[in-house]
Amino acid sequence: MPNSRIMPAAMTLKQWYFVHKWTSLICTVFLLLLCLTGLPLIFGEEIGHWLGTRVEPPAMAGQLPRTDLDALVADARARRPGDAVLFLSQNDDAPAWFVSMGRTPDATEDSAVFVYDGRTGAFLQDLPLRQGFMHVMFTLHVDLFAGLPGTLFLGGMGVLFVLSVISGVVVYGPFMRKLSFGTVRHDGSRRLIWFDLHNLLGIATVVWALVVGGTGVINTLARPLFTYWQQTELAEMTAPWQGKSLLTVFSSIDRAVVVAETIDSWKETAFVAFPGTPFAGPHHYAVFLRGKTPLTARLIEPVLIDAETGAIAAVRAMPWYVTALSVSQPLHFGDYGGLPLKAVWAVLDIITIVVLASGLYLWWKKRTMVVEQLLVEAEPHALPAGPLPIGEDA
């Protein structure tokens, strides 16, 4: 008698198998692309240093005070007169500051990004933008070179992937009811070996795959979520200044950052959006603070500084959906535990590629078989069930 605790009714298994087969088939090609482009992205920082596209500030002894940020911005403006300053941001690890410039204050694309040493103010490099191998990998991974529609399409593929993994776990039980864990029947047909490998590699890495897949889907919502934030929270925070004209001369940015950081001594500046950008509105600097510990670094708090008077205009915690986005990013990139974690991430990525490719192979080899035949074939010592396609033996 079949053990009904781990063997759902054959009808339900058929449905779950159908879900697994079809969600997998539709998304597999795109997931393979995401996994392959994702592999170099894991080591983006290291590759950037190796290729020379990223320059590190030189090591200096001691905790030196931050240089005058007004000087950085003035230098950046001098390099690109006519362009607007969009963002000023701080690197997570190295004491480098980035000044992003755009053709107009509401430009969606940077015209230049200048990197400075945060302790001396020395100019380090003009970041190469939108070029090179890593740019191709990144853009393919993020939107297939198709902008927001491309991103949302990949998000849809991510949802199918998550469904594929979940349904795979559901059908794992019945298929493994007679096979001890991890069995790989090396003496079986090629098809059987790959079946065993697909199951072993898949079930062992299922949590990682779900987390990386799920956080990938959340990341595709980044732009829509921030647009929503701008239209709701930011609009409320800047409401008292509605109707005022766009400023042309701004108060000191260095002063703005210092004043913002007085709000909370446990926080530091992550980045600053300049007046005119959608993140700050026409009249303010938006200084985004973040915590200093690994746990609190994901919690950002925007402080609006009046860019005319330099006074604090509004402070408000970020809503839950932005926090969710912030936490999703490290869990997707795998860059939050040093190089060893990145190495493990890469191996798990490769394992996922093998699971995807073997799944495709198994579907191709077994596409004429129904679930009952597949179940019989999965059992130990069983001979392949059902008619085999002419000319193939495995």
Partner: protein
């Protein structure tokens, strides 16, 4: 032909254990630096180690259970490839 059914614990024990270790590995480095990072990548490499150990393991068990020892050798069990 005798067929051996595994219990739910036998089927799901290892996957659940690996899943729990993976959750610990994913969260540890988020919570701190230094030793937390070590916990993270050590835990996440456990599924990899488990996979490698099973891939390398010669398979004879279940065929012995059902056929008896006389046919239990890889050469006589070879299928056409």
């Amino acid at each position: 032909m005798m067929s051996v059914h595994l219990t739910a614990h036998q089927v799901w024990g290892m996957p659940i254990a690996l899943g729990a270790v993976s959750v610990v590995g994913l969260l540890a480095a988020l919570l701190g630096d230094g030793v937390w990072d070590v916990v993270s990548w050590s835990a996440l490499s456990l599924p990899i180690a488990v996979i490698l150990s099973y891939v390398g393991m010669p398979h004879r068990q279940s065929c012995c259970v059902t056929h008896g020892l006389s046919v239990c050798s890889s050469s006589s069990h070879k299928r056409s490839r």
